[in-house]
Symmetry: C2
Subunit: 556 residues, 2 copies
């Protein structure tokens, strides 16, 4: 069978200026990066983003399982199918992180006949955005430690530094370290650690900034640590915001690439979906909305995390009005939610599908709470039986929701045509009445409780006293209006990754809370959240290399 | 007075395809990075590099002083002047490191009317080469620690790991650290540290590789540490060389930019001139030689370090045959070598110039030992008096060498026209009889002694027993044929930075020796060598930012 890489290499790419022209982007606005990638300049971005917006369609998913769902391929397939039907559609996706490419995950550019290209470039350095973000993050660290070294005028407590260094690499050995060793001329000894770049607050700031000025403003207000009296020290106190913004200037211009079918896709920014909000840059989304009649975008993890944050953080902040939501599911994944182990997914099990459909139903109900019409995309596998498919469709009928079979992985745009027509119909009907889950004015703990009860169906939250005190302090400091970003396992509605299906009545244990003052949200850490992944025993990197023609082999 | 940035911004840049066409590079070979930068694809690079080479001219300098000499501006000015005279000339320079931009140094793209453009881009991320090198370096570290974590099959001694992590940042707090803290699931505790990216062996390998295959081969043979029995573990033992080469694939394509006058310039690679060899990539040099009649290139520091390494490491390795050498000096710097403090440089002092000229004379003699004809470029300052200039010219006449006044900083190409004519004459005379200083077969300690006695005019070297034992071991391991790369202060012929002028009879104290098995040289560390700089009390970063139009301010 052809691999994703085989299919990607067999595709004929069009010059990026041709893709840009289709999307209504003039040559003068393009900064080419090779023949098939381009950044779009800030003047045009500002002008186009001010136009009346197209319809925004969010692709999200059920609670993910090891069986795989195919959210990114569906986002791409839907965009391709809309274009094939004559709707002017644009795709907006996150940039992949370099780290996971060398671990187990492989690339993050779709798959089969629903891919964005050139896949090797996008998966490796692409246009350098993540390197710029890493540099900006680490410049702030260097300036912070330099400030301590030269006498610490700001009175920052070295034990209360919350700012960590970053690297775009899966490197567990950097999670916790002691820096500044070697004596008085070498630095200031303190505990530190590295997060993977996508977990840096700089990434979240980058993805929520409206423009360069807003970017610098948000960078400046990031809190790097506190004094002994508890007052905050910011990046702007360290005078680091200007140089950080300079490092990020070019990166903030969105990246244009193409799908195998030639649809224009903006691939820009990529924050973690746990300690951050998990969707592509606001700059790219707004540009796409200004250019296209329909914009198809994606949020990380399942709808309880990804969609909730997309709606309550990004859409709230930017005043975006999504028109519809697509929830991706597979029969195989629903069977796992129904209790079938991965090894037994090949056999028909209608009852398991029916049980597991509770997970999908819960997500559909949740999206309805936000006022969004839903279409379910059922990503077809060869092993799916008619009875299993019918069981999903029957469950969805109870929620007045269509579950549409999709085969874009093998068939490209044609495989998502029915899905595209259903989405077109929802947009045309104008049924969306988007509203965030909670008002800005609600107290922080109450916001967290609302998410837990309304979306996760927990009976309550468990908020330890130190966390509650932090929330109270931030409210006193003027951060009470911020939305809450929950970092919990993506595998369950609860904080227990083994509770599949649609659990309810659990309680949500909050381990810690963190303030992302620059990005503009409060993070509630529920359970163990990894901000620096490790490599497996046999990393994918061992098999990556160059073939005789200098092409990159081993990315998948 | 107009700053470098003012002059750079006032210049009208030509589309990079136009510059490429002038240099004989077809459109099909260009990978544009924006409108004014391009990488040149490997197929064309291979074809053009195989053509009969043009004449190679090395620009080097006297021992540097705080008064400044202007090596990069002279390299650019000479290239511009040769083109203005109708010689097809190309310039090959190092890429600047991001780190120093945020410290005190400012940019490294020339100055005045002798600059390569676009200066903000070249000084910041440029085409991402250094980020790729940083990533490759750190992927190797991550794979190494991951190997230890999963059971250490190779039997690497964690205390004997010599491979360090890298960051393109001035960050003293990362010089020495302890990584892998946090318990058994977090990693393996060991001492580590970060070097600035330009000090990484990956950078040296990158700059000495002939092509992608050679790059991967050299990466693979890099030694990352040793077992308890002392045997070496390499990057190839860790199976990291393929993925590292994949990360560096695009980076190895040389970068084309333009000077203010429109000359084509390849700016590619940039290893430190102390623990590495300090000149731009071999790939860029060979490409330029295939394209141009004259290639003007530069080596770091003074001729005792930069030129010696360019000749004994790079030219030896690649079979390059330089045609002439330009040594840059200023009256002001010679006065400092003659004992005048920086504060008194404004006053005429012919005797000091005569004393300080001994430094220049020594460098000229040294270049003659390599069989190279020399022209001295005397970078003119307003404060230079006719008597001082005459003193330099008289000293040079004793060595049958012209000292030519240059004003390219203020006058561009016209200010280096006389220098260019002198260089043309040396090339036309075909007087060069290049030979390296020592044969490959000479024992390592003897090579070091030869450099110390012939170039630095030391009476001998002081080689501690542990260092001598290492050299003996490496000879037994088959590394005895490698050249020696001396890391010592650039401010003096001796290892004492305060010994200006032309000291002799000193001894060269060797502190340590290191094996760069991938790059292919043995480093002799003489004195304190900094592989990770720090930031000053008031870093330049504090003044860097974006103006209202989104342009970068504060780079200089």
């Amino acid at each position: 069978m052809a691999t994703d890489l085989d299919i990607a290499r067999a595709a004929t790419l069009r010059p990026i200026a041709e893709i840009a022209a289709r999307a209504g982007i003039p040559d003068s606005a393009l900064e080419p990066y090779g023949k098939y990638k381009a950044k779009i300049g800030p003047d045009f971005v500002a002008e186009a983003s001010a136009r009346p917006p197209g319809a925004l369609v969010l692709v999200t998913g059920i609670s993910p399982t090891p069986a795989g769902e195919g959210k990114t391929t569906t986002t791409i397939g839907l965009g391709d199918a809309l274009n094939a039907l004559g709707t002017k559609a644009m795709i907006a996706l996150r940039e992949p992180s370099l780290g996971p490419c060398f671990g187990v995950k492989g690339g993050a550019t779709g798959g089969g006949h629903a891919q964005v290209l050139p896949m090797e470039d996008i998966n490796l350095h692409f246009t350098g955005d993540f390197h710029a973000i890493t540099s900006a993050n680490n410049l702030l660290s260097a300036m912070l430690d330099n400030h301590l070294y030269w006498g610490n005028e700001l009175g920052l407590d070295p034990r209360r530094v919350s700012w960590r260094r970053a690297m775009d690499m899966n490197d567990r050995n950097l999670r916790d370290c002691v820096v500044g060793l070697g004596g008085a001329t070498q630095g200031v000894v303190r505990e530190d650690g590295f997060d993977i770049t996508v977990a840096s607050e700089v990434m979240a700031v980058f993805c929520l900034a409206r423009d360069l000025a807003d970017l610098q403003h948000r960078l400046g207000r990031m809190i790097v640590g506190r004094r002994r009296d508890g007052t905050a020290v910011t990046a702007s106190d360290l005078k680091a915001d200007g140089a950080m913004a300079a490092l990020l200037r070019d990166a903030l211009s969105p990246n244009l690439v193409q799908t195998i079918a030639g649809s224009p896709a903006l691939v820009h920014g990529g924050p973690f979906a746990n300690i951050a909000h998990g969707c592509n840059s606001l700059v790219a989304t707004r540009l796409a909305l200004g250019l296209a009649d329909v914009v198809v975008t994606e949020a990380g993890f399942g709808a309880d995390l990804g969609a909730e944050k997309f709606l309550d953080i990004k859409c709230r902040l930017a005043g975006l009005n999504p028109a519809a939501c697509v929830i991706v599911a597979t029969v195989r994944a629903l069977k796992m939610h129904g209790g079938v182990p991965k090894s037994a997914l090949g056999a028909e099990d209608v009852a398991a599908v029916e049980r597991g459909a509770a997970n999908l139903e819960r997500h559909v109900e949740n999206m309805h709470k936000f006022g969004l019409p839903v279409v379910v995309a059922l990503n077809r596998f060869d092993s799916d039986t008619p009875a299993e498919i019918a069981a999903v469709q029957a469950a969805m009928a109870r929620h007045d929701t269509q579950a549409i079979l999709c085969t874009h992985w093998s068939d490209g745009a044609a495989g998502a045509a029915e899905l595209a027509r259903a989405v077109q119909a929802r947009i045309a009907a104008g049924a969306a009445r988007f509203q965030p889950l909670y008002p800005d004015a609600m107290p922080l703990a109450e916001k967290l409780r609302t998410i837990a009860q309304q979306v996760y169906r927990a009976s309550d939250i468990v908020l330890p006293a130190p966390a509650a005190q932090k929330l109270a302090r931030w409210e006193a400091e003027g951060f009470g209006h911020l939305p809450v970003c929950v970092a919990k396992t993506q595998y369950s509605f609860s904080a227990d990754p083994t509770l599949l299906g649609a659990p309810s009545g659990h309680s949500l244990p909050v381990r810690d809370v963190r303030l992302s003052a620059g990005a503009g949200f409060v993070v509630a850490v529920c359970g163990e959240i990894m901000t620096m992944p490790g490599l497996p025993r046999r990393p994918a990197a061992e098999s990556i290399g160059l073939d005789a023609a200098g092409q990159i082999d081993g990315l998948f």
